[in-house]
């Protein structure tokens, strides 16, 4: 019943392929939209999502946090590290959670707007704070890493979403039920 309801809702709403974050998560279908759910437990975790493209590519992405009083100061960020991206400034290099490999550039979403946009996610029916969506141009074929971390060491859940093309073949909806605590309510 729940699945059929979600399938019906998904016809007219953006539905990302759900997946739980790992310390290093390689995305098998990086051109398909995903939502990567995770939680900062200690606040000093750095999660890496790996996107590998066979051609230059462009898509939107954003970082969301459940709109809960307990998370009002929780502002996880992401940086994209890979070939052809802008050269990082010394200030940015100091701020990043890891060393940028030689020759790689960086895009960053600092999640520092004073007023965060509120977004009602229609498939799982959850209200989220979002960084707002950012179109990103990956100007080279190759491997890009998305580093997700919490600069203020705040703890709590996050959803990192990217892409718009949907594909739920192969039981991709299963991620919702496997990790209900991350995606459900």
């Amino acid at each position: 019943m729940t699945l059929s309801l979600m399938s019906w809702i998904a016809l007219d709403a953006l539905a990302h392929r759900p997946q739980a974050v790992e310390e290093r998560l390689v995305i098998e279908l990086p051109k398909i939209s995903h939502v990567i759910g995770g939680e900062f437990v200690t606040g000093d975790e750095v999660f890496t999502v790996v996107l590998e493209y066979d051609t230059p590519f462009a898509m939107p992405m954003e970082m969301q946090v459940p709109r809960l009083r307990a998370l009002e100061n929780h502002r996880p960020v992401f940086a994209i590290v890979g070939p052809g991206l802008p050269e990082p400034t010394p200030e940015l290099l100091d701020w990043l959670p890891a060393e940028v490999p030689e020759g790689m550039g960086v895009w960053v979403q600092r999640n520092d707007e004073p007023e965060r946009e509120v977004y009602f996610e229609q498939v799982m029916r959850r209200t989220m704070w979002t960084t707002g969506s950012l179109a990103v141009h990956f100007p080279s074929a190759g491997t890009y890493e998305v580093w997700i971390w919490s600069p203020d060491f705040s703890v709590g859940e996050f959803w990192y979403g990217f892409g718009v093309e949907e594909d739920f073949s192969g039981g991709a909806w299963g991620g919702v039920f496997d990790d209900w605590g991350l995606f459900g309510w």
Binding site: L14, T55, P56, F57, M61, E62, F138, S140, E165
Partner: protein
């Protein structure tokens, strides 16, 4: 006459929206950037008729993405083609 309900349903179910101005600018910018760099970017979703325009929710998401993406491009690169400025 018999086709009317089917045509009506198809029209009623069409939730697509127009490509936004910001994403038209994003597409022009990336096309020009591609020419500058000698590459071809898969930018299909933002283009006219792309997946961004399948329904209002996705359309709004893409529109905001294009506005923010163009801003970030302009801040990050000092050699952008005129179509990006």
């Amino acid at each position: 006459m018999r086709l009317f309900p089917i045509v009506f349903l198809l029209v009623a179910c069409d939730t697509s929206v127009d490509q936004s101005q910001a994403c038209a600018e994003w597409v022009s910018c990336i096309d020009a950037r591609d020419a500058q760099l000698g590459i071809t970017t898969d930018n299909d979703r933002f283009q006219l008729g792309g997946d961004c325009w399948g329904n209002p929710e996705i359309g709004e998401l893409c529109d905001k993405a294009c506005i923010a993406g163009l801003d970030q491009m302009r801040t990050a690169y000092d050699d952008l083609p005129e179509a990006c400025l």
